[in-house]
C-alpha cells in the first residue's frame, strides 16, 4: 500500500451493533478500520477491475506482491465507469484501452475512480461518497461488521466538488465544477440502467428539456484512418458522451442554485430560536466558489432566494466551515494567506487570522533542523522555500471543544485556534506533523484528531518526491489528542490515540507496494493566472 489516504471519515458507533469506525479512502478503495483496536474490517470495492477479490488485512501481505499488483491503480488516463460503458460497443476508445476487462467484472460493484469525499448520514447508518473521475455519488449502508454495501450510484452531469446533507439528513446537496448545486434524496431510487420507453423528460439545470436520442456514430475506430476522420470520430463520440451525460440525470434531482464558477464548498445549517430571533428554525445553504464569493441562500424549498454574500477574500475560496458550537459563525479559507471568520447571517467580517507568516516560520524552522543525513536532495536545496509563498487551505474542521483545525496543501502541520463563548478568537497554534497533512477526521467524542499524511512527497513540497523509499517506514496516519493539547503542540499526543494510530499504520505497511500513482495536489490550480483574471 504505497498510496496515501486522500480522504478520512469518522463514523461513531450508531448503536451497539457496530463499533466506531474510521473510513479511509486510498485511490478508489475505501478501507474500514475498527477504532477500538485499529484492525482492518473491510475494503470496498471487494473486487478489483480484473474481478479478483481485494484481499483483506493479513492475507494482503503475500498477495500484495503479485496478485494485486497494480490492480485498481489505473494509469491516470484509463477510462472509468467500465461497468456501464463497456457494454456499449459504440465506445470504441474504451474497448481499446481495456482489452482485459472480463465479462464478470461488469456485474460487480466496481469503481475505478478515486474517492474524493465522504460524509456520514443518518447518524452513521449510511455513508455518502463521491468518486471524482466518474462523477458519481454513491450511497453505502454501513453494516454491523463495518463493511460497506452500496445502495445506489448516481452519476452527476458535472464533476461533484462538494457534498453535504440538509439539516434533516434526508437530502444530499451536491455542488459541481460548473457551479451548480443539486439536491437528491439520500435514499433515492438507484439509478436505472435503461428506463425503456417511459423515459421521463428530464429538465436539466436550466430548464431545457433534452430529448435523449442515442445516436450511433457513422464510423468506428477501425474504419477511419486519416487525421481528419479521426477528428470527426472523436467529435461524434464526444456528442454521444454528452447525450449520455444528459441521460444519466435520470433519477430524482433538483437544481437548487448555481454560481458561474467552480463551486468549492457547501454547508447547510439550521438556525433556531435559541440563537436568533426567529420563531421557527430557518435553513440556509452556504456556498463558496473560485471567484472569492461566499453566498448565503435560503434552504429548500426556497433555495432560489439569495440572502446575502460574505465578501472579503481576494483569492479562490476552497473551504468553509460552520463551527459546531457557533452556528452563527463561518470560517473560510482558500488561496489567501489568511482565514476569515464571518457573522454570515449579516455578511459581517468578524476576524481575520493570518496564517502565512506562521507557515513561513514553521518552514524555516523545519529547514534549519533537517539533519544532513536525511538525504542530499534536501540539503542541496538553496535555503528558502521551494513551496511558493502562497498558501492554499485544504481543510477546515471544528471540534466539540470549540476548536478550529485547519490544514494547507503541502504543509506538514495542523493549524488550530479556538473560539470562546463571546466569539472571540484565541491565538493560532501550529502542530507540526511528520509529513504533509492530507485529510483530518475529528473524533470529537473520543477527544482525538486523526490525520492522514502524504507519504509521497517531502514535507513542505507538493512536487518533490519523498526520499523515504521503503513502505514499511511510511507513516500514513498521525493523531493528536484534543484534551491534552496545551497549545504548544509538540509531544502533546495522547498515548491512547498513538497506540491506535500505530496499529493503523502497521496494518497498512503489510500491504506492500501497490502501483505508482503519486498523491496529487490540485488546489493551487484554482488560483487564477494573470490572463484569466476576473474573466
Amino acid at each position: 500500500m504505497a498510496q496515501p489516504f486522500q480522504c478520512l471519515l469518522y463514523c461513531p458507533s450508531a448503536s451497539t451493533r457496530r463499533p466506531s469506525l474510521l473510513l479511509a479512502a486510498s485511490g478508489p478503495f475505501i478501507y474500514s478500520f475498527c477504532l477500538q483496536d485499529g484492525s482492518l474490517l473491510s475494503v470496498w470495492p471487494t473486487h478489483d477491475l480484473e474481478g479478483r477479490p481485494v484481499p483483506l488485512d493479513e492475507s494482503l501481505a503475500c498477495a500484495g506482491e503479485s496478485g494485486v499488483k497494480d490492480a485498481g491503480r489505473p494509469a491516470k488516463r484509463r477510462r472509468v465507469s467500465l461497468s456501464r460503458e463497456v457494454s456499449s460497443s459504440t465506445s470504441a476508445e474504451i474497448v481499446i484501452e481495456n482489452p482485459r476487462v472480463t465479462e464478470s467484472s461488469r456485474e460487480l460493484q466496481v469503481s475505478n475512480s478515486e474517492v474524493n469525499k465522504m460524509i456520514c448520514a443518518s447518524s452513521g447508518e449510511y455513508v455518502v461518497a463521491v468518486t471524482g473521475e466518474d462523477k458519481t455519488i454513491r450511497v453505502f449502508e454501513l453494516r454491523g461488521d463495518g463493511s460497506l454495501m452500496q445502495t445506489s450510484e448516481r452519476p452527476m452531469p458535472k464533476r461533484p466538488c462538494a457534498i453535504t446533507l440538509t439539516p434533516d439528513g434526508k437530502t444530499i446537496l451536491c455542488g459541481d465544477k460548473f457551479g451548480d448545486v443539486y439536491s437528491l434524496p439520500l435514499l433515492g431510487k438507484p439509478f436505472v440502467e435503461d428506463p425503456a420507453s417511459s423515459e421521463p423528460k428530464v429538465e436539466d439545470s436550466n430548464g431545457r428539456a433534452e430529448e435523449h436520442v442515442l445516436v450511433l456514430p457513422a464510423a468506428s475506430a477501425r474504419t477511419v484512418h486519416t487525421k481528419k476522420n479521426q477528428e470527426a470520430l472523436r467529435n461524434q463520440q464526444r456528442q454521444i458522451r454528452q447525450k449520455k451525460e444528459k441521460k444519466i440525470l435520470n433519477f430524482e434531482h433538483q437544481l437548487l442554485l448555481g454560481h458561474v464558477s467552480l463551486l468549492t464548498d457547501l454547508a447547510c445549517v439550521s438556525i433556531c430560536e435559541r440563537t436568533s430571533s426567529f420563531s421557527h428554525p430557518r435553513d440556509y445553504i452556504i456556498t463558496s466558489d473560485r471567484d472569492e464569493h461566499i453566498r448565503v441562500s435560503r434552504g429548500m424549498p426556497q433555495a432560489h432566494v439569495v440572502e446575502g454574500y460574505c465578501q472579503g477574500h481576494t483569492e479562490f475560496i476552497s473551504k468553509i466551515c460552520i463551527p459546531q458550537n457557533h452556528r452563527q459563525l463561518l470560517v473560510s479559507g482558500g488561496g489567501d494567506n489568511y482565514l476569515l471568520v464571518w457573522d454570515w447571517l449579516r455578511g459581517n467580517l468578524q476576524h481575520r487570522i493570518d496564517i502565512g507568516e506562521r507557515m513561513n516560520y514553521l518552514e524555516a524552522e523545519y529547514r534549519k533542523n533537517i539533519p544532513r543525513a536525511i538525504g542530499n536532495s534536501i540539503s542541496e536545496q538553496p535555503a528558502g522555500n521551494d513551496r511558493e509563498q502562497s498558501l492554499a487551505v485544504s481543510g477546515i474542521w471544528s471540534s466539540s471543544d470549540s476548536r478550529i483545525i485547519v490544514t494547507c496543501e503541502g504543509v506538514p502541520a495542523l493549524i488550530m485556534f479556538s473560539i470562546d463563548e463571546n466569539m472571540a478568537v484565541g491565538a493560532c497554534d501550529c502542530v507540526p506533523t511528520k509529513s504533509n497533512v492530507i485529510d483530518v477526521a475529528v473524533l470529537s467524542d473520543l477527544g482525538i484528531v486523526i490525520y492522514s499524511m502524504d507519504t509521497d512527497h517531502e514535507p513542505f513540497s507538493t512536487t518533490k518526491p519523498s526520499s523515504e523509499k521503503s513502505a514499511s517506514s511510511k507513516t500514513f496516519f498521525g493523531s493528536f489528542s484534543l484534551s491534552n493539547a496545551t497549545g504548544r503542540g509538540m509531544g502533546a499526543e495522547g498515548l491512547h490515540s498513538q497506540d491506535l494510530v500505530g496499529n493503523l499504520n502497521a496494518r497498512m505497511q503489510t500491504h506492500g507496494e501497490r502501483g505508482s500513482r503519486l498523491y496529487c495536489y490540485s488546489l493551487e490550480n484554482l488560483r487564477k493566472r494573470g490572463y484569466e483574471e476576473e474573466s
Binding site: 448555481g258 420563531s279 454574500y309 476576473e534
Partner: protein
C-alpha cells in the same frame, strides 16, 4: 469601488465625508443597471429621462467599456456650459463580468431597474450555460433588485426571447409584466430605439421581442406564514 470617480457630481463633498479612509461616497446609490451595455446608447438616451436616478452600464469588453467612459466624459464636457450642466452626470460605465461579479457592485435590493438589451444569444445548446439569463443567475438579479423593481429584456432572437421568458416566469422571484403596462412604460420605447443593437435590427427590418418582469416579494420563511 470608488463610485465618486464615476459620478463626480454626486460625490459627498470631502469635508462632509466622515469616513476619510475609504473612497468618497455618493449622495445617492445607483438604482438602474444596463447589463452588457455595449456602446452605451441606452444609457445616453435614458440619462435625461431618468434624471433623478444614477444609471450604471456594465460591459465585459475592456475597450468597449473604455469607449463608453470616454463618450460620457465628452458628453458631460459638452453640456458643462449649457443650460443643463447636470445632463449625463448621472450615467457611468464600468468593465465587469456581471455573470460573476454582480454582487460585488450592488447591495441587496439596491436596484429598481435592470436592462438586458440584445444579449448575446449563444445559440448552441452546449453554450447555454453562457447565457446571461438562467434559472440560477436569475437569483442573483433578484438579490440586487428591490421588491417591485423591473427587469427589462429585449432581443431579436425569438428563441432567446422564449428562453428568457421561460426562465423568469419559472423563477420564484419574478412575474411577467402585463402587455398594457409594458406599452405604457416610458423606458420600453427608448430600449426599442436607442440601443446600438436595436438600431441595427431596425435597419435590417428585424423583429424585436420585449418582455418585462417584476421582482416579487420574497416568500415568508417556511413555518412563518402570516397569521
Amino acid at each position: 469601488m470608488d463610485w465618486a470617480e464615476h459620478y463626480p457630481a454626486y460625490a459627498v463633498p470631502a469635508e462632509a465625508d466622515k469616513d476619510e479612509q475609504g473612497p468618497r461616497r455618493l449622495t445617492k446609490d445607483v438604482t438602474v443597471a444596463d447589463i452588457g451595455c455595449g456602446f452605451g446608447g441606452l444609457l445616453v438616451a435614458l440619462a435625461p429621462q431618468l434624471s433623478s436616478d444614477l444609471l450604471l452600464g456594465l460591459e465585459i469588453r475592456t475597450q468597449v467599456a473604455e469607449f463608453v467612459q470616454d463618450r460620457i466624459r465628452a458628453l458631460r464636457a459638452q453640456n458643462a456650459s449649457s443650460s443643463s450642466p447636470d445632463l449625463y452626470q448621472n450615467i457611468a460605465c464600468i468593465r465587469a463580468n456581471t455573470m460573476k461579479f454582480l454582487p460585488n457592485f450592488f447591495r441587496k435590493a439596491q436596484l429598481s431597474k435592470i436592462f438586458l438589451c440584445f444579449p448575446d444569444p449563444h445559440f448552441k445548446a452546449r453554450k447555454h450555460k453562457a447565457r446571461i439569463v438562467s434559472a440560477t443567475l436569475n437569483s442573483e438579479y433578484a438579490f440586487v433588485m428591490r421588491e417591485g423593481g423591473v427587469m427589462y429584456t429585449i432581443t431579436d432572437v425569438e428563441d432567446l426571447h422564449r428562453w428568457m421568458v421561460g426562465h423568469f416566469e419559472a423563477h420564484g422571484s419574478f412575474e411577467r409584466v402585463s402587455e398594457e403596462e409594458v406599452e405604457s412604460d416610458g423606458c420600453v420605447e427608448v430600449m426599442r430605439r436607442e440601443t446600438e443593437e436595436g438600431k441595427k435590427v431596425e435597419r435590417n427590418k428585424g423583429e424585436k421581442f420585449v418582455a418585462l418582469f417584476r421582482r416579487k416579494a420574497d416568500p415568508p420563511w417556511p413555518g412563518e406564514e402570516a397569521g
